[in-house]
Protein backbone atom coordinates (compact mmCIF):
# COMPACT_ATOMS: atom_id res chain seq x y z
CA UNK A 1 0.00 0.00 0.00
CA UNK A 2 1.07 3.57 -0.54
CA UNK A 3 1.08 5.95 2.38
CA UNK A 4 1.62 9.68 2.41
CA UNK A 5 3.72 10.75 5.40
CA UNK A 6 3.00 14.42 5.96
CA UNK A 7 5.37 16.51 8.02
CA UNK A 8 3.70 19.20 10.09
CA UNK A 9 5.94 21.63 11.92
CA UNK A 10 6.24 25.15 13.23
CA UNK A 11 7.83 27.29 10.57
CA UNK A 12 9.30 29.71 13.06
CA UNK A 13 11.31 26.88 14.57
CA UNK A 14 13.30 26.54 11.35
CA UNK A 15 13.77 30.30 10.99
CA UNK A 16 15.22 30.52 14.48
CA UNK A 17 17.88 27.87 13.92
CA UNK A 18 21.57 28.74 13.50
CA UNK A 19 23.26 27.92 10.20
CA UNK A 20 24.98 24.84 11.58
CA UNK A 21 21.72 23.60 13.10
CA UNK A 22 20.04 24.00 9.73
CA UNK A 23 22.83 22.07 8.05
CA UNK A 24 22.35 19.33 10.61
CA UNK A 25 18.62 19.33 9.94
CA UNK A 26 19.10 19.03 6.19
CA UNK A 27 21.64 16.24 6.70
CA UNK A 28 19.17 14.32 8.88
CA UNK A 29 16.52 14.52 6.17
CA UNK A 30 19.06 13.45 3.52
CA UNK A 31 20.02 10.42 5.59
CA UNK A 32 16.37 9.51 6.13
CA UNK A 33 15.62 9.84 2.40
CA UNK A 34 18.64 7.68 1.64
CA UNK A 35 17.44 4.93 4.02
CA UNK A 36 13.98 4.98 2.41
CA UNK A 37 15.64 4.55 -1.01
CA UNK A 38 17.85 1.71 0.23
CA UNK A 39 14.81 -0.09 1.63
CA UNK A 40 13.09 0.46 -1.74
CA UNK A 41 10.01 2.00 -0.16
CA UNK A 42 10.38 5.58 -1.43
CA UNK A 43 7.90 6.62 -4.13
CA UNK A 44 8.36 10.37 -3.92
CA UNK A 45 9.20 13.21 -1.55
CA UNK A 46 9.20 17.00 -1.51
CA UNK A 47 9.90 19.82 0.85
CA UNK A 48 7.49 22.74 0.50
CA UNK A 49 8.20 26.45 0.54
CA UNK A 50 6.97 28.21 3.65
CA UNK A 51 3.32 29.20 3.99
CA UNK A 52 4.01 32.90 3.28
CA UNK A 53 4.22 31.67 -0.34
CA UNK A 54 0.87 29.84 -0.13
CA UNK A 55 -2.28 30.88 -1.98
CA UNK A 56 -5.78 29.46 -1.56
CA UNK A 57 -8.20 29.27 -4.44
CA UNK A 58 -11.89 28.39 -4.47
CA UNK A 59 -14.91 29.08 -6.63
CA UNK A 60 -17.40 31.52 -5.15
CA UNK A 61 -20.53 31.95 -7.29
CA UNK A 62 -18.63 30.30 -10.13
CA UNK A 63 -15.72 32.72 -9.96
CA UNK A 64 -12.34 31.87 -8.52
CA UNK A 65 -11.70 33.55 -5.23
CA UNK A 66 -7.99 33.81 -4.56
CA UNK A 67 -6.61 34.52 -1.11
CA UNK A 68 -3.13 35.00 0.25
CA UNK A 69 -1.92 32.48 2.82
CA UNK A 70 -2.47 28.84 3.74
CA UNK A 71 -5.88 27.20 4.23
CA UNK A 72 -5.40 26.43 7.90
CA UNK A 73 -3.93 29.05 10.21
CA UNK A 74 -2.82 26.54 12.83
CA UNK A 75 0.63 26.81 14.34
CA UNK A 76 1.85 23.59 12.71
CA UNK A 77 1.88 23.75 8.94
CA UNK A 78 2.47 21.18 6.22
CA UNK A 79 6.19 21.46 5.51
CA UNK A 80 6.76 18.49 3.21
CA UNK A 81 5.87 14.90 2.53
CA UNK A 82 7.18 11.45 1.74
CA UNK A 83 5.15 9.06 -0.39
CA UNK A 84 6.13 5.50 0.49
CA UNK A 85 5.10 1.96 -0.38
CA UNK A 86 4.77 -0.15 2.77
CA UNK A 87 3.10 -3.49 3.45
CA UNK A 88 0.80 -2.18 6.17
CA UNK A 89 0.05 0.62 8.61
CA UNK A 90 2.52 -0.69 11.20
CA UNK A 91 5.35 -0.48 8.66
CA UNK A 92 4.23 3.01 7.61
CA UNK A 93 4.09 4.12 11.26
CA UNK A 94 7.59 2.73 11.82
CA UNK A 95 8.92 4.81 8.89
CA UNK A 96 7.02 7.90 10.09
CA UNK A 97 8.57 7.52 13.54
CA UNK A 98 12.10 7.57 12.01
CA UNK A 99 11.48 10.77 10.05
CA UNK A 100 13.20 13.85 11.55
CA UNK A 101 9.78 15.50 11.29
CA UNK A 102 8.47 13.28 14.09
CA UNK A 103 11.02 14.96 16.39
CA UNK A 104 10.71 18.65 15.40
CA UNK A 105 7.02 18.44 14.49
CA UNK A 106 4.54 15.67 13.95
CA UNK A 107 3.75 13.19 11.21
CA UNK A 108 0.36 12.41 9.77
CA UNK A 109 0.12 9.04 8.05
CA UNK A 110 -2.55 8.67 5.37
CA UNK A 111 -3.14 5.73 3.07
CA UNK A 112 -3.43 6.68 -0.59
CA UNK A 113 -6.74 6.12 -2.33
CA UNK A 114 -6.34 3.63 -5.15
CA UNK A 115 -9.47 1.54 -5.68
CA UNK A 116 -12.79 1.23 -3.85
CA UNK A 117 -11.03 -1.41 -1.83
CA UNK A 118 -7.31 -1.79 -1.97
CA UNK A 119 -5.55 -5.07 -1.38
CA UNK A 120 -2.34 -5.06 0.65
CA UNK A 121 0.82 -5.21 -1.39
CA UNK A 122 2.99 -8.31 -1.06
CA UNK A 123 4.32 -8.36 2.49
Amino acid sequence: MQYLLMIYSEENGWNQLTDSERQQGVAAYQAYTESLKKAEVLVGANRLQQTNTATTVRLVDGKPQVLDGPYSDSKEQLAGYYLIDAPNLDAAIAWAARCPGAAHGLMEVRPVWTAPYDAPSAA
Binding site: A86, N88, L89, D90, A92, A115, D118, A119
Partner: protein
Protein backbone atom coordinates in the same frame (compact mmCIF):
# COMPACT_ATOMS: atom_id res chain seq x y z
CA UNK B 1 -47.57 -28.33 4.01
CA UNK B 2 -46.22 -29.05 7.45
CA UNK B 3 -42.89 -30.80 7.93
CA UNK B 4 -42.94 -34.32 9.35
CA UNK B 5 -41.56 -35.05 12.80
CA UNK B 6 -38.30 -36.38 11.34
CA UNK B 7 -37.76 -33.29 9.24
CA UNK B 8 -38.43 -31.08 12.18
CA UNK B 9 -35.96 -33.11 14.24
CA UNK B 10 -33.27 -32.66 11.58
CA UNK B 11 -33.99 -28.97 11.47
CA UNK B 12 -33.62 -28.64 15.21
CA UNK B 13 -30.36 -30.62 15.13
CA UNK B 14 -29.00 -28.51 12.27
CA UNK B 15 -29.94 -25.37 14.16
CA UNK B 16 -28.20 -26.43 17.32
CA UNK B 17 -25.03 -27.54 15.49
CA UNK B 18 -24.94 -24.25 13.56
CA UNK B 19 -25.42 -22.34 16.79
CA UNK B 20 -22.69 -24.29 18.55
CA UNK B 21 -20.26 -23.72 15.66
CA UNK B 22 -21.21 -20.06 15.56
CA UNK B 23 -20.39 -19.63 19.23
CA UNK B 24 -17.21 -21.68 19.19
CA UNK B 25 -15.70 -20.73 15.86
CA UNK B 26 -17.02 -17.32 14.89
CA UNK B 27 -13.83 -15.36 15.55
CA UNK B 28 -11.65 -18.11 14.16
CA UNK B 29 -13.53 -18.04 10.85
CA UNK B 30 -13.62 -14.23 10.68
CA UNK B 31 -9.87 -14.11 11.35
CA UNK B 32 -9.16 -16.58 8.53
CA UNK B 33 -11.46 -14.83 6.08
CA UNK B 34 -10.20 -11.33 6.84
CA UNK B 35 -6.50 -11.77 7.51
CA UNK B 36 -5.40 -11.14 3.92
CA UNK B 37 -8.05 -8.71 2.76
CA UNK B 38 -8.37 -6.93 6.15
CA UNK B 39 -12.01 -6.59 5.26
CA UNK B 40 -13.72 -7.58 8.50
CA UNK B 41 -17.19 -6.47 7.39
CA UNK B 42 -17.01 -8.54 4.18
CA UNK B 43 -15.79 -11.54 6.20
CA UNK B 44 -18.72 -11.17 8.58
CA UNK B 45 -21.17 -10.87 5.69
CA UNK B 46 -19.75 -13.97 4.01
CA UNK B 47 -19.93 -15.88 7.27
CA UNK B 48 -23.53 -14.82 7.87
CA UNK B 49 -24.38 -16.11 4.38
CA UNK B 50 -22.60 -19.37 5.16
CA UNK B 51 -24.58 -19.84 8.38
CA UNK B 52 -27.81 -19.17 6.49
CA UNK B 53 -26.77 -21.73 3.84
CA UNK B 54 -26.00 -24.23 6.60
CA UNK B 55 -29.48 -23.89 8.06
CA UNK B 56 -30.98 -24.56 4.63
CA UNK B 57 -28.63 -27.40 3.69
CA UNK B 58 -27.94 -29.35 6.88
CA UNK B 59 -31.52 -30.41 7.72
CA UNK B 60 -31.82 -31.93 4.22
CA UNK B 61 -28.44 -33.56 3.80
CA UNK B 62 -27.42 -33.96 7.41
CA UNK B 63 -24.71 -32.10 9.33
CA UNK B 64 -21.28 -32.35 7.70
CA UNK B 65 -18.51 -34.23 9.53
CA UNK B 66 -16.59 -31.01 9.95
CA UNK B 67 -19.11 -28.15 10.18
CA UNK B 68 -16.36 -25.54 10.67
CA UNK B 69 -14.59 -26.50 7.43
CA UNK B 70 -17.93 -26.63 5.61
CA UNK B 71 -18.79 -23.10 6.75
CA UNK B 72 -15.30 -21.89 5.85
CA UNK B 73 -15.56 -23.27 2.32
CA UNK B 74 -18.96 -21.68 1.72
CA UNK B 75 -18.01 -18.38 3.35
CA UNK B 76 -14.80 -18.15 1.35
CA UNK B 77 -16.71 -18.77 -1.91
CA UNK B 78 -19.21 -16.04 -0.95
CA UNK B 79 -16.36 -13.68 -0.14
CA UNK B 80 -14.74 -14.30 -3.54
CA UNK B 81 -18.07 -13.75 -5.31
CA UNK B 82 -18.65 -10.63 -3.24
CA UNK B 83 -15.20 -9.28 -4.09
CA UNK B 84 -15.80 -9.87 -7.83
CA UNK B 85 -19.24 -8.34 -7.58
CA UNK B 86 -17.85 -5.18 -6.06
CA UNK B 87 -15.29 -4.92 -8.90
CA UNK B 88 -12.49 -4.62 -6.41
CA UNK B 89 -9.89 -6.15 -8.65
CA UNK B 90 -8.56 -9.63 -9.06
CA UNK B 91 -5.98 -9.29 -6.35
CA UNK B 92 -8.47 -9.67 -3.51
CA UNK B 93 -10.22 -12.59 -5.18
CA UNK B 94 -6.84 -14.19 -5.86
CA UNK B 95 -5.83 -13.84 -2.26
CA UNK B 96 -9.03 -15.45 -1.09
CA UNK B 97 -8.39 -18.27 -3.54
CA UNK B 98 -4.85 -18.72 -2.23
CA UNK B 99 -6.24 -18.75 1.29
CA UNK B 100 -8.78 -21.37 0.25
CA UNK B 101 -6.04 -23.58 -1.20
CA UNK B 102 -3.99 -23.28 1.97
CA UNK B 103 -6.94 -24.31 4.08
CA UNK B 104 -8.02 -27.18 1.85
CA UNK B 105 -4.55 -28.72 2.21
CA UNK B 106 -5.01 -28.98 5.93
CA UNK B 107 -6.50 -31.81 7.86
CA UNK B 108 -10.20 -31.48 8.43
CA UNK B 109 -10.84 -29.79 11.75
CA UNK B 110 -7.37 -28.30 11.92
CA UNK B 111 -8.09 -24.78 10.73
CA UNK B 112 -5.32 -22.50 11.96
CA UNK B 113 -6.21 -20.25 14.88
CA UNK B 114 -5.47 -16.62 13.97
CA UNK B 115 -7.71 -15.15 16.64
CA UNK B 116 -4.78 -13.61 18.45
CA UNK B 117 -3.78 -11.60 15.37
CA UNK B 118 -7.40 -10.55 15.05
CA UNK B 119 -7.43 -9.48 18.71
CA UNK B 120 -4.45 -7.22 18.15
CA UNK B 121 -5.92 -5.75 14.95
CA UNK B 122 -9.11 -4.87 16.81
CA UNK B 123 -7.15 -3.17 19.59
CA UNK B 124 -4.66 -1.34 17.34
CA UNK B 125 -3.56 2.08 18.68
CA UNK B 126 -4.60 3.67 15.38
CA UNK B 127 -8.22 2.91 16.33
CA UNK B 128 -10.18 5.12 18.69
CA UNK B 129 -9.59 3.79 22.22
CA UNK B 130 -13.29 3.69 23.05
CA UNK B 131 -14.22 1.35 20.21
CA UNK B 132 -11.48 -1.28 20.59
CA UNK B 133 -13.23 -3.41 23.19
CA UNK B 134 -16.65 -3.37 21.48
CA UNK B 135 -15.00 -4.15 18.15
CA UNK B 136 -13.21 -7.16 19.61
CA UNK B 137 -16.40 -8.41 21.23
CA UNK B 138 -18.19 -8.26 17.91
CA UNK B 139 -15.50 -9.47 15.55
CA UNK B 140 -13.81 -12.12 17.68
CA UNK B 141 -16.70 -13.33 19.80
CA UNK B 142 -19.63 -12.61 17.51
CA UNK B 143 -21.64 -10.47 19.92
CA UNK B 144 -24.45 -8.47 18.41
CA UNK B 145 -24.09 -4.69 18.29
CA UNK B 146 -27.17 -4.24 20.50
CA UNK B 147 -25.76 -6.51 23.23
CA UNK B 148 -22.46 -4.62 23.13
CA UNK B 149 -24.26 -1.29 23.16
CA UNK B 150 -26.11 -2.16 26.35
CA UNK B 151 -22.92 -3.34 28.03
CA UNK B 152 -21.24 -0.06 27.12
CA UNK B 153 -24.25 2.12 27.93
CA UNK B 154 -24.62 3.37 24.37
CA UNK B 155 -27.48 3.41 21.88
CA UNK B 156 -27.42 0.47 19.42
CA UNK B 157 -27.46 2.87 16.46
CA UNK B 158 -24.46 4.82 17.74
CA UNK B 159 -22.59 1.61 18.54
CA UNK B 160 -23.25 0.17 15.07
CA UNK B 161 -22.01 3.36 13.44
CA UNK B 162 -18.78 3.36 15.43
CA UNK B 163 -18.16 -0.33 14.73
CA UNK B 164 -18.58 0.24 10.99
CA UNK B 165 -16.21 3.19 11.10
CA UNK B 166 -13.55 1.12 12.92
CA UNK B 167 -13.81 -1.74 10.41
CA UNK B 168 -13.46 0.72 7.54
CA UNK B 169 -10.31 2.12 9.09
CA UNK B 170 -8.80 -1.37 9.50
CA UNK B 171 -9.42 -2.04 5.83
CA UNK B 172 -8.56 1.32 4.29
CA UNK B 173 -5.59 2.26 6.48
CA UNK B 174 -4.06 -1.20 6.22
CA UNK B 175 -4.02 -2.14 9.91
CA UNK B 176 -2.20 -5.49 9.91
CA UNK B 177 -3.53 -8.78 11.24
CA UNK B 178 -0.43 -9.74 13.15
CA UNK B 179 0.85 -10.18 16.67
CA UNK B 180 3.01 -7.16 17.61
CA UNK B 181 6.77 -7.49 18.08
CA UNK B 182 8.00 -8.35 21.57
CA UNK B 183 8.93 -4.77 22.51
CA UNK B 184 5.53 -3.45 21.53
CA UNK B 185 3.57 -6.30 22.96
CA UNK B 186 2.99 -5.27 26.62
CA UNK B 187 1.69 -1.85 25.60
CA UNK B 188 -0.67 -3.29 23.04
CA UNK B 189 -1.74 -5.99 25.45
CA UNK B 190 -3.62 -3.76 27.92
CA UNK B 191 -6.42 -3.16 25.41
CA UNK B 192 -6.64 -6.87 24.61
CA UNK B 193 -6.94 -7.77 28.31
CA UNK B 194 -9.67 -5.17 28.83
CA UNK B 195 -11.67 -6.58 25.98
CA UNK B 196 -11.29 -10.18 27.16
CA UNK B 197 -12.42 -9.20 30.65
CA UNK B 198 -15.41 -7.31 29.28
CA UNK B 199 -16.39 -10.46 27.41
CA UNK B 200 -16.11 -12.49 30.59
CA UNK B 201 -18.19 -9.99 32.54
CA UNK B 202 -20.92 -10.26 29.90
CA UNK B 203 -20.96 -14.04 30.27
CA UNK B 204 -20.95 -13.79 34.06
CA UNK B 205 -24.16 -11.79 34.10
CA UNK B 206 -26.04 -14.78 32.73
CA UNK B 207 -25.65 -17.32 35.55
CA UNK B 208 -28.20 -19.87 34.43
CA UNK B 209 -27.06 -19.92 30.82
CA UNK B 210 -30.55 -19.14 29.58
CA UNK B 211 -29.36 -16.56 27.12
CA UNK B 212 -27.89 -18.24 24.04
CA UNK B 213 -26.07 -15.11 22.95
CA UNK B 214 -24.16 -14.94 26.19
CA UNK B 215 -24.02 -18.58 27.25
CA UNK B 216 -20.60 -19.40 25.95
CA UNK B 217 -18.98 -16.01 26.46
CA UNK B 218 -17.40 -16.80 29.82
CA UNK B 219 -15.89 -19.93 28.30
CA UNK B 220 -14.66 -18.03 25.22
CA UNK B 221 -13.12 -15.35 27.40
CA UNK B 222 -11.41 -17.95 29.59
CA UNK B 223 -10.05 -19.59 26.45
CA UNK B 224 -8.69 -16.27 25.19
CA UNK B 225 -7.14 -15.45 28.57
CA UNK B 226 -5.51 -18.88 28.65
CA UNK B 227 -4.19 -18.34 25.13
CA UNK B 228 -2.70 -14.99 26.15
CA UNK B 229 -1.01 -16.58 29.18
CA UNK B 230 0.56 -19.20 26.89
CA UNK B 231 1.79 -16.53 24.51
CA UNK B 232 3.06 -14.20 27.23
CA UNK B 233 4.01 -16.35 30.23
CA UNK B 234 6.07 -13.52 31.73
CA UNK B 235 3.45 -10.77 31.54
CA UNK B 236 1.99 -10.29 35.05
CA UNK B 237 -1.24 -8.60 33.99
CA UNK B 238 -2.12 -11.49 31.69
CA UNK B 239 -1.59 -13.89 34.60
CA UNK B 240 -3.62 -11.56 36.83
CA UNK B 241 -6.52 -11.48 34.41
CA UNK B 242 -6.72 -15.24 34.09
CA UNK B 243 -6.49 -15.59 37.90
CA UNK B 244 -9.30 -13.05 38.34
CA UNK B 245 -11.53 -14.87 35.87
CA UNK B 246 -10.83 -18.26 37.44
CA UNK B 247 -11.72 -16.99 40.94
CA UNK B 248 -15.02 -15.76 39.55
CA UNK B 249 -15.62 -18.91 37.53
CA UNK B 250 -14.95 -21.11 40.59
CA UNK B 251 -17.90 -19.47 42.35
CA UNK B 252 -20.14 -19.25 39.30
CA UNK B 253 -22.56 -22.03 40.25
CA UNK B 254 -22.58 -21.14 43.95
CA UNK B 255 -24.52 -17.99 43.12
CA UNK B 256 -27.72 -20.04 42.87
CA UNK B 257 -29.31 -22.43 45.34
CA UNK B 258 -31.25 -25.56 44.41
CA UNK B 259 -34.41 -23.49 43.94
CA UNK B 260 -32.63 -21.13 41.53
CA UNK B 261 -32.53 -18.28 44.01
CA UNK B 262 -29.66 -15.84 44.26
CA UNK B 263 -27.05 -16.49 46.95
CA UNK B 264 -24.80 -13.52 47.85
CA UNK B 265 -21.09 -14.17 48.45
CA UNK B 266 -21.43 -13.88 52.24
CA UNK B 267 -24.02 -16.69 52.27
CA UNK B 268 -22.22 -19.04 49.87
CA UNK B 269 -20.83 -22.34 51.10
CA UNK B 270 -17.10 -22.37 50.20
CA UNK B 271 -17.35 -26.18 49.96
CA UNK B 272 -19.32 -25.75 46.75
CA UNK B 273 -16.61 -23.68 45.08
CA UNK B 274 -14.36 -25.23 42.45
CA UNK B 275 -11.17 -25.88 44.44
CA UNK B 276 -8.85 -26.81 41.53
CA UNK B 277 -9.79 -23.53 39.81
CA UNK B 278 -9.04 -21.55 42.95
CA UNK B 279 -5.72 -23.37 43.35
CA UNK B 280 -4.82 -22.55 39.75
CA UNK B 281 -5.78 -18.91 40.31
CA UNK B 282 -3.66 -18.73 43.49
CA UNK B 283 -0.66 -20.16 41.61
CA UNK B 284 -1.14 -17.68 38.73
CA UNK B 285 -1.33 -14.78 41.16
CA UNK B 286 1.88 -15.90 42.89
CA UNK B 287 3.63 -16.12 39.51
CA UNK B 288 2.35 -12.64 38.65
CA UNK B 289 3.51 -11.04 41.89
CA UNK B 290 7.01 -12.49 41.33
CA UNK B 291 7.26 -10.10 38.36
CA UNK B 292 7.05 -7.09 40.71
CA UNK B 293 4.87 -5.02 38.42
CA UNK B 294 1.47 -4.38 39.97
CA UNK B 295 -1.51 -3.68 37.75
CA UNK B 296 -5.27 -3.47 37.70
CA UNK B 297 -6.01 -7.12 37.03
CA UNK B 298 -3.55 -8.39 39.62
CA UNK B 299 -5.18 -6.15 42.23
CA UNK B 300 -8.66 -7.33 41.29
CA UNK B 301 -7.49 -10.94 41.46
CA UNK B 302 -5.89 -10.27 44.85
CA UNK B 303 -9.27 -8.94 46.04
CA UNK B 304 -10.98 -12.13 44.93
CA UNK B 305 -8.27 -14.15 46.66
CA UNK B 306 -8.86 -12.17 49.88
CA UNK B 307 -12.62 -12.86 49.68
CA UNK B 308 -11.95 -16.58 49.24
CA UNK B 309 -9.62 -16.56 52.27
CA UNK B 310 -12.14 -14.77 54.48
CA UNK B 311 -15.07 -16.97 53.55
CA UNK B 312 -13.04 -20.13 54.08
CA UNK B 313 -11.43 -19.14 57.39
CA UNK B 314 -14.17 -16.82 58.77
CA UNK B 315 -11.41 -14.37 59.66
CA UNK B 316 -12.43 -10.80 58.74
CA UNK B 317 -9.80 -9.21 56.46
CA UNK B 318 -11.64 -6.03 55.53
CA UNK B 319 -8.65 -3.85 56.33
CA UNK B 320 -6.59 -5.65 53.70
CA UNK B 321 -9.50 -5.47 51.25
CA UNK B 322 -9.97 -1.72 51.72
CA UNK B 323 -6.23 -1.25 51.15
CA UNK B 324 -6.41 -3.24 47.93
CA UNK B 325 -9.32 -1.07 46.77
CA UNK B 326 -7.32 2.05 47.67
CA UNK B 327 -4.50 0.80 45.44
CA UNK B 328 -6.97 -0.01 42.67
CA UNK B 329 -8.58 3.41 42.94
CA UNK B 330 -5.11 4.99 42.64
CA UNK B 331 -4.24 3.26 39.34
CA UNK B 332 -7.69 2.69 37.82
CA UNK B 333 -10.18 5.10 39.36
CA UNK B 334 -13.80 4.56 38.37
CA UNK B 335 -17.20 4.88 40.04
CA UNK B 336 -17.51 1.09 39.87
CA UNK B 337 -14.37 0.63 41.99
CA UNK B 338 -15.63 3.33 44.37
CA UNK B 339 -18.91 1.44 44.91
CA UNK B 340 -17.11 -1.82 45.71
CA UNK B 341 -14.65 -0.04 47.96
CA UNK B 342 -17.54 1.55 49.87
CA UNK B 343 -19.05 -1.88 50.56
CA UNK B 344 -15.74 -3.09 52.02
CA UNK B 345 -15.45 0.13 54.00
CA UNK B 346 -18.89 -0.52 55.51
CA UNK B 347 -17.66 -3.85 56.86
CA UNK B 348 -14.62 -2.22 58.44
CA UNK B 349 -15.90 1.21 59.56
CA UNK B 350 -19.68 0.96 59.40
CA UNK B 351 -22.35 2.00 56.86
CA UNK B 352 -22.19 5.76 57.48
CA UNK B 353 -18.49 5.95 56.58
CA UNK B 354 -19.28 4.03 53.40
CA UNK B 355 -22.15 6.37 52.50
CA UNK B 356 -19.87 9.37 53.07
CA UNK B 357 -17.28 7.81 50.76
CA UNK B 358 -19.91 7.52 48.02
CA UNK B 359 -21.07 11.13 48.46
CA UNK B 360 -18.75 12.54 45.72
CA UNK B 361 -20.38 10.18 43.21
CA UNK B 362 -23.97 11.17 44.04
CA UNK B 363 -24.31 13.20 40.82
CA UNK B 364 -22.15 11.03 38.60
CA UNK B 365 -24.19 10.42 35.42
CA UNK B 366 -22.48 7.03 34.96
CA UNK B 367 -24.17 5.76 38.13
CA UNK B 368 -27.73 6.85 37.37
CA UNK B 369 -28.61 3.47 35.86
CA UNK B 370 -25.76 1.41 37.33
CA UNK B 371 -27.71 -1.22 39.25
CA UNK B 372 -24.96 -2.32 41.72
CA UNK B 373 -24.66 1.29 42.91
CA UNK B 374 -28.34 1.41 43.89
CA UNK B 375 -28.23 -2.05 45.47
CA UNK B 376 -25.18 -0.97 47.49
CA UNK B 377 -26.83 2.29 48.52
CA UNK B 378 -30.00 0.48 49.55
CA UNK B 379 -28.06 -1.92 51.73
CA UNK B 380 -25.92 0.82 53.32
CA UNK B 381 -28.88 3.14 53.95
CA UNK B 382 -30.89 0.31 55.53
CA UNK B 383 -28.00 -0.52 57.83
CA UNK B 384 -27.55 3.15 58.71
CA UNK B 385 -31.22 3.34 59.70
CA UNK B 386 -32.31 5.62 56.84
CA UNK B 387 -35.23 3.33 56.02
CA UNK B 388 -37.25 5.62 53.74
CA UNK B 389 -34.25 6.45 51.57
CA UNK B 390 -33.24 2.78 51.57
CA UNK B 391 -36.66 1.72 50.27
CA UNK B 392 -36.34 4.23 47.42
CA UNK B 393 -32.87 2.92 46.53
CA UNK B 394 -34.20 -0.66 46.59
CA UNK B 395 -36.92 0.34 44.12
CA UNK B 396 -34.29 1.64 41.70
CA UNK B 397 -32.04 -1.39 42.22
CA UNK B 398 -34.94 -3.76 41.60
CA UNK B 399 -36.12 -1.79 38.59
CA UNK B 400 -32.68 -1.79 36.99
CA UNK B 401 -31.85 -5.49 37.60
CA UNK B 402 -32.21 -7.77 34.60
CA UNK B 403 -31.57 -11.08 36.41
CA UNK B 404 -34.89 -12.38 37.85
CA UNK B 405 -33.17 -14.27 40.71
CA UNK B 406 -31.34 -11.17 41.91
CA UNK B 407 -34.57 -9.20 41.52
CA UNK B 408 -36.40 -11.65 43.80
CA UNK B 409 -33.55 -11.45 46.32
CA UNK B 410 -33.73 -7.65 46.39
CA UNK B 411 -37.53 -7.69 46.60
CA UNK B 412 -37.36 -9.94 49.67
CA UNK B 413 -34.84 -7.62 51.31
CA UNK B 414 -37.10 -4.68 50.57
CA UNK B 415 -40.13 -6.44 52.05
CA UNK B 416 -38.14 -7.34 55.20
CA UNK B 417 -37.09 -3.72 55.56
CA UNK B 418 -40.54 -2.23 55.09
CA UNK B 419 -42.17 -4.71 57.50
CA UNK B 420 -39.47 -4.02 60.12
CA UNK B 421 -40.32 -0.34 59.78
CA UNK B 422 -44.01 -0.74 60.54
Amino acid sequence: MSPSGGERGAEVAAHSVAEAVARRSYGKLVALLAMRTRDVAAAEDALADAFAAALADWPERGCPANPEAWLMTVARRRAIDGARHRYVGDEVANQLTILADEIDEREAGALPDRRLALLFACTHPALDAGIRTPLMLQVVLGLEAKTIASAFLMSPAAMTKRLVRAKTKIREAGIPFSVPEREELPGRLAAVLEAVYAAYAEGWTDPVGGDTVRRDLAGEALFLAQLLVELLPGEPETLGLLALMLYAQARRDARRDAAGDYVPLSAQDPQTWNTPMIDTANALLRRASACNAIGRFQLEAALQSAHVYRCRTHRPNWDEIVQLYDALLAIAASPVVAVNRALALAERDGPQVALDALEPYADDPRLVDYQPYWAARADLLARAGATVEALGAYDLAIGLERDPAVRRFLQRKRIDLSSAKS
